[in-house]
């Protein structure tokens, strides 16, 4: 999803990443007791909005991580949803209705209680077509969505028929069709609650949002400078450690320099500075695989690529690790169609992702060879990416004897709705990426390879794959994962795309802070867990 956006910035010290989820509300009490107090600063980009339903990029979701408590968080080992602001989520036997009970006694930062109505109103508002909220499409699985988004004219109703408030702390959600992964989606910010103050003046709310998370706004959003947060004293969940957090807004390289100069406590590290970070900041550098799959998409509408053995050969002929060691340092080679912090990922599942020049040659020979020139497409103005693509083309040339050509396309055209990706006019494989919205295997299968997938740009069509997805969508959450894995097996054989790598979520920090924890399943730092060293007598020991 935000895939492309994020892929754009590989090579900067910036990673645009995705998705949702929050922090310290779940469980409670499992934290080692740390000391509260102090202020720290963290790198961030400039969000488009600070209204959770109207923002779809990583700078916003990182801020929401502290400002809101999501309905569910994700388990640190299985990445399955666990209740956060929700108390319980129960699926009906027909799979269509979810009964959501929320924890009582929680309040927004202005003191207003968080009730079932806070959720239902927010969802209705975002799902209402004329409001033109970016995350509107997240509600399309709920019954009544079409009535709020007619193909023409003004909607006759402002409320989703599938939402019913049962009591202050309970509401039900009826879906149009069963969807086993619905609970995962609730970890996304589209489903956050909004207080009444929002509806009085959404624009003013955008400048100083009022959430229900461990941190509240400390003054207004200072555009392109900082988003200042302070601990919300009446938070009903596990409180955050630091008194104040400065989300500093940077563009480009300035963040890295500011970190080096000692003015920024925590920053993210991309390919261009990772080698330096490994040398100079190895003691605080944390490298973890993130929630993004980078891959080479394949134009299956081009007869050259319709034989699966050609695609298998192309994948087998790339030595991913070599390219990453030399150029794309912040990435790790892909070994499945989804990254590790996702429910359903299987290590080493992709047999054709292992570099094997001999097998590649044999596969290509079996397929009858490759005629003509292979054009490898990528977006322009990213020298790191260009070098990597040159290396890939060279490997195809050396290992398979294919004549290759590189084609850099301007970024505005590349990702445009009228560009070659969406109009299916790509002249050969192209660089692509997919960042999850929620850490489920389904999010890496159905949207990209399903017949009705929102990003099925390769034109992949496999009825058996689709029916397997259908089955999985109708199962219970736990049953569904192995079924999705069966679908994954089909594309692991078919190779409708060439998995390339996983973009790392890499952080470094200075001596001022400790206890940096990545939010399970999402590319976010858990802002509430960071401790400031020496603050009001805090012990420096990490929990």
């Amino acid at each position: 999803m935000r895939g492309s956006l994020r892929v754009l910035v590989i090579g900067l010290a910036v990673t645009f990443v995705a998705a949702a989820c929050s922090s310290n509300s779940s469980g409670g009490g499992s934290e080692a007791p740390g000391q509260q107090g102090g202020t720290y600063s963290f790198y961030n980009g400039e969000p488009n909005h600070l209204i959770p339903q109207n923002d779809y990029e990583s700078a916003g979701t990182q801020a929401f991580q502290a400002l809101w408590t999501r309905l569910v968080d994700f388990d640190p080992t299985t990445y399955k949803p666990v209740p956060a602001q929700a108390d319980s989520i129960t699926q009906s036997s027909d799979g269509l209705t979810y009964d959501i009970k929320i924890k009582s006694g929680w309040t927004f930062h202005n003191g207003e209680p968080v009730t079932a109505q806070s959720y239902v109103d927010a969802w209705n508002y975002a799902a209402y077509g004329p409001n033109a909220y970016i995350l509107n499409f997240f509600f399309d699985k709920i019954e009544g969505y079409d009535a709020l988004n007619p193909s023409s004219g003004t909607p006759k109703t402002k409320e989703l028929s599938g939402l019913k408030v049962v009591s202050d702390t309970e509401f039900t959600v009826k879906l149009s069709n069963p969807f086993s992964q619905f609970e995962y989606t609730l970890g996304f910010d589209a489903f956050d609650p909004l207080p009444k103050a929002f509806y009085q003046d959404p624009k003013a709310f955008d400048e100083q949002p009022i959430g229900d998370g461990p941190y509240m706004m400390d003054g207004k959003w200072q555009h392109d400078q900082t988003i200042n947060l302070q601990r919300y004293p009446d938070y009903a969940g596990t409180p955050g450690f630091a008194d104040k957090i400065e989300l500093r807004i940077y563009q480009g390289d300035a963040a890295w320099l500011d970190f080096q100069a000692g003015n920024l406590d925590i920053t993210l590290v991309g390919s261009d500075h990772l080698n330096e970070a490994r040398k100079s900041y190895s003691d605080t550098l944390s490298e973890e695989p993130g929630a993004t799959l980078l891959y080479l998409n394949i134009p299956l509408y081009d007869p050259q690529y319709q034989n699966k053995e050609v695609r298998q050969a192309l994948s087998l002929a790339i030595d991913r690790q070599a390219v990453m060691n030399a150029i794309l340092v912040a990435e790790t080679p892909a070994d499945d169609f989804m990254p590790p912090p996702v429910t359903g990922y299987r290590q080493g599942a992709c047999q054709y992702c292992q570099f094997n020049a001999d097998l590649a040659k044999q596969k290509l020979a079996d397929a009858g060879g490759f005629n003509g020139t292979l054009t490898l497409n990528f977006y322009a103005d990213d020298t790191t990416l260009e070098q990597a693509m040159e290396a890939v083309a060279q490997q195809w040339h050396d290992n398979l004897g294919i004549t290759t050509k590189l084609n850099a396309i301007p970024q505005n055209t590349y990702f445009s709705g009228s560009g070659p990706i969406y109009t299916k006019k790509m002249t050969g494989p192209w660089w692509d990426g997919w960042t999850e919205d929620y850490p489920s295997i389904q999010d890496f299968l159905e949207p990209i390879y399903g017949a009705n997938g929102g990003y099925n740009t390769s034109g992949y069509l496999n009825k058996q794959f689709d029916s397997t997805l259908d089955t999985a969508n109708q199962q219970s959450l736990d049953e569904s994962i192995p079924t999705y894995q069966q679908a994954d097996d089909m594309i692991l054989e078919d190779m409708p795309a060439i998995p390339w790598g996983y973009l790392g979520f890499n952080t470094v920090h200075d001596d001022n802070v400790t206890n940096l924890v990545k939010v399970p399943g999402l590319d976010e730092l858990d802002l509430a867990k960071v401790q400031v060293v020496g603050a009001s007598g805090a012990s420096a020991s990490a929990s």
Binding site: M1, R2, G3, S4, L5, R6, E46, N48, H49, Y56, E57, G129, N131, A132, Y133, I134, L135, N136, F137, D140, L148, N149, P150, S151, K203, D206, H223, D224, Q225, T226, R248, Y250, Q251, G252, D253, A254, A255, L257, D258, Q260, A261, G262, N263, P410, Q411, N412, T413, F415, S416, G417, S418, G419, I421, D432, G433, W434, T435, P447, G454, Y455
Partner: protein, 308 residues
């Protein structure tokens, strides 16, 4: 200098602005790409959301109609909104002070250093000092702003910790390195130009007469030479000022200053048409008025200049 002249010049602003806006509008809105579709990365927006946003911004209308809508807004003091819903006027009013401070800093460096270098080099012409200044100014002119900026950041920020390297959190100190980055190159150019001007003037009969009269050298240079060299210098300074106020894209980006140049580059990258058009229009207005001011000033400095 008559009132009629002034009115004529002011009236000229209108076609200049209309033309500028038309050209920028065409460049921004006729280039391929779909900024609305990209609001959610490579995930397609809901059709209702997509259509609603396009309708709000008149994007489905022919180009000319969009242009007229924009002009209509402009007449009513509305610079439009970005595709993420922020008013362009509020972006400009937030960022204008940053660019103004940076401009004043760089401009001060240009004037002070530029004139100092020029006068010293001219007075001490063909000495070692003159040659040293020549080498220094040529060097400053050749060094790209990007390189100078990074070197200053690294030396004074990262290594010595004397000055901040990014952002505007530290008040005036935040503007020192960016102002130097911008101002030194301008000072060097001005120094070269002004030196030859000052030298030309020092050959004048009236100067020799003044020296012969026994006037102190400082007074000769200050009063007679420099004043007569001012017209070309003021003209160049005016152009430089207007250029600086347009927003120094590279400097603002490497120092993470939230100014107009920084906004322009973001606007271009994200194809945020309303933002780009608004910023370029503002820069055109500043250019036109600075030029007018310079012309008036020159007429005052040198009464021989007439604009009839």
């Amino acid at each position: 200098m008559s009132k009629r002249y002034l009115i004529r010049r002011l009236l000229l602003v209108v076609p200049v602005l209309l033309g500028t806006i038309l050209i920028v509008f065409a460049l921004v809105f006729l280039t391929p790409g779909d900024p609305v579709a990209r609001l959610a990365g490579n995930k397609p927006l809901a059709p209702s959301t997509y259509n609603e946003i396009r309708t709000q911004y008149h994007l489905g209308q022919p180009f000319v109609v969009q242009y007229l809508y924009y002009l209509d807004g402009l007449v009513h003091g509305d610079l439009g909104a970005t595709f993420t819903g922020r008013d362009v006027s509020s972006i400009i009013s937030e960022r204008f002070p940053v660019t103004l401070k940076l401009t004043l800093g760089a401009f001060a460096i240009e004037v002070v250093f530029g004139l100092l270098l020029a006068v010293v080099a001219a007075v001490k012409r063909r000495t070692f000092l003159d040659s040293a200044i020549l080498v220094f100014t040529l060097f400053m002119i050749t060094v790209p702003i990007l390189v100078l900026g990074f070197v200053l950041q690294y030396v004074f920020g990262v290594k010595l910790h004397w000055l901040p390297v990014a952002g505007i959190r530290d008040g005036a100190a935040s503007y020192v390195l960016p102002s130097l980055t911008l101002g030194l190159g301008l000072a060097a150019s001005l120094g070269r130009l002004a030196r030859s001007n000052v030298l030309d003037n020092m050959q004048g009969e009236h100067i020799r007469a003044a020296i012969a009269r026994g006037l102190p050298r400082r007074r000769v240079v200050g009063r007679h030479v420099l004043k007569n060299s001012l017209v070309p210098i003021v003209t160049i300074l005016g152009l430089d000022f207007a250029y600086l106020m347009g927003g120094a894209v590279i400097t603002e980006t490497i120092f993470n200053l939230p100014g107009l140049g920084n906004a322009l580059i973001t606007g271009i990258k994200t194809q945020n048409g309303p933002m780009v058009v608004g910023l370029v229009t503002l820069s055109a207005i500043i250019f036109v008025f600075t030029n007018l001011f310079v012309d008036l000033l020159c007429a005052r400095i040198d009464p021989r200049i007439s604009y009839e």
